[in-house]
């Protein structure tokens, strides 16, 4: 069971806390908004991903169970 990281771009205000807590997966663009390099979260990083999700000041980061998404 794999987990996917997603940013809600409307909720995101560019605080950048997620990039500090999960630099392996999240970078910041020149304007301070997160770029998720690879949505799939490997198991060793899961704990860090959960912490990043919990620490986001605007609840913009989500961890979802991987599922078949229809277009």
């Amino acid at each position: 069971m794999s987990h996917q990281l997603r940013v809600n771009p409307i909720a995101c205000n560019g605080h950048g806390v997620c990039a500090e807590l999960l630099p392996e997966i999240i970078d910041l663009d020149p304007w301070g908004y997160p770029i998720v390099r690879s949505a799939n979260v490997p198991p060793p990083l899961l704990m860090h991903a959960r912490r990043a999700v919990a620490t986001c000041p605007t609840l913009a980061l989500r961890l979802e169970r991987a599922q078949n998404r229809r277009p």
Binding site: A11, N13, G14, H15, G16, V17, E20, L21, T55, P57, T58, L59, A60
Partner: protein, 183 residues
């Protein structure tokens, strides 16, 4: 040891824990403002501000509990336990004491809604979190009004320092508001 206590020890404990609660609450406020203002430096990452802000609230709770506990247990003033959360139920030093209950209520509201953030959704949570800006000044006024130390220099200095700190942080926050994001 019987549970009804009196004597200056409790009285000092109440005042001391009250002051510490206020200082910690001020610290929490400052960290909250700094979170919104996006401060970060090489040695101070943003997650530190967010994390400290949340964790400090726990300390506030502990000292608030001690403050309320020592007050209630002190037989000299016979303040019932309910006065901790229901304002103006005790005639002692009303309305200043009552404001303490108001501040405590606001703090509990902010705390509970923050713990339930995920279920509330961001917008609802944020609206309620603004109550924190009401909680802090009410707590401050309660402290100055109820406290029998009100005329002592060090208490006034401490209160003034708290006000100055929050005022400075708020000013900084407003000044960087344009840079700080969409909303």
């Amino acid at each position: 040891m019987s549970f009804t206590l009196h004597g200056p020890a409790l009285w000092y404990a109440t005042r001391a824990t009250g002051l510490v609660t206020l200082l910690l609450l001020t610290g929490t406020m400052l960290l909250g403002i700094v979170t919104a203002g996006r401060f970060a430096s090489e040695k101070w990452p943003r997650f530190l501000t967010v994390g400290l802000h949340r964790n400090l609230t726990l300390l506030v709770l502990i000292f608030l509990a001690l403050h309320v506990g020592t007050t209630v247990v002190d037989t000299y003033t016979s303040i019932p336990a309910t006065a901790a959360v229901i304002p103006f139920v005790s005639p002692y030093k009303s309305p200043w004491l009552g404001l303490g209950a108001v501040a405590a209520d606001l703090l509990i509201a902010v705390l509970v809604t923050s713990l339930l953030r995920n279920r509330l959704g961001f917008r609802a949570w944020r609206g309620l979190h603004w109550l924190a800006y009401a909680c802090w000044p009410v707590a401050l006024i309660h402290g100055l009004g109820t406290g029998t130390d009100r005329r002592t220099l060090w208490l006034l200095a401490a209160a003034l320092a708290c006000v100055a700190a929050v005022a400075a942080a708020a000013t900084w926050r407003l000044a960087t508001a344009a840079r700080a994001g969409i909303r």
